[in-house]
Symmetry: C2
Subunit: 199 residues, 2 copies
DNA sequence: TTCATCTCCAACGTAGACGTTGGTTTCAAC
DNA sequence: GTTGAAACCAACGTCTACGTTGGAGATGAA
């Protein structure tokens, strides 16, 4: 039978993603990844160098994919709302991302993988918001970087502490209706924060 | 020498808190807790029953302490802002709480420890917000439970994904000035979401 | 003092994960 | 078809965590 090393790599990465998302770096074992991928342990060490490196690799993939998928916010308050909605949708469709970021927050200290690239990616978005403020299209009572974080908080909290949002909203696993309700609120809230107050 | 079982229990709980906050349930070992507490492993099994039970115990303690410490929001938009500020302060002073909640989010599935009590605690706050809306003091374009979550998101995101907020704000470990800046923004944002729009 | 009880600990067996090694199979280049 | 390199895997030694056990030290009541 022919070798298909690319396929082997892919199977490892997929299995690793599952395991890391579910159990995090510590809770995941190389052995389980290997078993789930139908591959020998040694392949993982050989291809990726070990658990930590593999985790960073998985994380990189998902962060990169997110940052290219979600459009940069634009210049009107309404479009900032749309940006929040897009983010929300993306996170619902890719529930791995937030969990990976959380594992990162909890287990990695010091610089994050790809810290520089990610920083400049965020800087782009912040700059965009700042431009909107200068143009008078967005409220300027928040500094643009802060506004950026506030929006992420409004969007992301639902996924970050789902047990808390469950206890507050009273819904077990949110269905389509509940998700729409949340999404609308997120958009409305982001829009509000970006809307200049008319006095 | 006389026994001091209460002190032994306390030492275990304190050491366990440190370990769980830092490394989470999986990353923490009973052995390290015992060593840090200066106590034999067996004491932990005997007093608390094992790692999972001990983690839940620690979590309970911190959640309970938070829910009694932070006052319930009141009825004007300005006071909702103050509530957000109080929350923010509490989380800065008790950095364990958010991390424990995160470990909970990531590792526990099914009902959370004390789910019922915590649910009714949140329900209280939601009810309070709802009352404010009915009285016309708060904006009513968000359902009260959703408003509750939005505020938590605005306040909590800073601590939940500190690596992300670091990359966005460009500050390494936030000093007093940066914390004040964030705090002000949080208060302002919460106030805004709760303020009725005058058209 | 004695005795039942509770606190405490050293030490154990088991299990699972780690990371590596030696050797086998496949491939492609000559 | 020979040969060298790369992909692959079974198996190993080591280490660390788990949860338990048997017994020693302390206590307080009879």
């Amino acid at each position: 039978m022919a070798w298909d090393t690319e396929r082997t790599r892919r199977k490892i990465l997929d299995a690793a993603t599952d395991q890391f998302v579910a159990h995090g770096p510590h809770g995941t074992t190389i052995e389980k990844i290997a078993r789930a991928a139908g591959v020998n342990k040694e392949r993982i060490y050989n291809y990726f160098g070990g658990k930590d490196a593999l985790f960073e690799r998985v994380l990189r993939e998902h962060v990169a994919s997110a940052s290219t998928s979600v459009p940069v916010p634009s210049n009107s308050a309404r479009e900032v709302g749309a940006y929040a909605g897009d983010l929300f949708d993306y996170l619902i469709e890719h529930p791995q991302l937030m969990r990976l970021l959380q594992w990162e927050a909890l287990t990695i200290d010091g610089d994050a993988p790809d810290e520089a690239e990610r920083t400049s990616m965020y800087a782009n978005r912040t700059r965009e918001l700042g431009a909107g403020q200068k143009a008078g299209a967005l409220a300027d009572d928040f500094e643009p970087d802060v506004l950026n974080v506030l929006i992420l908080g409004i969007v992301g909290y639902w996924m970050l502490l789902p047990q808390v949002t469950r206890m507050i909203t009273g819904t077990g696993t949110p269905g389509a209706g509940e998700l729409a309700r949340r999404r609308n609120a997120v958009i409305e809230a982001a829009t509000r924060l970006a809307t200049p107050i008319r006095q």
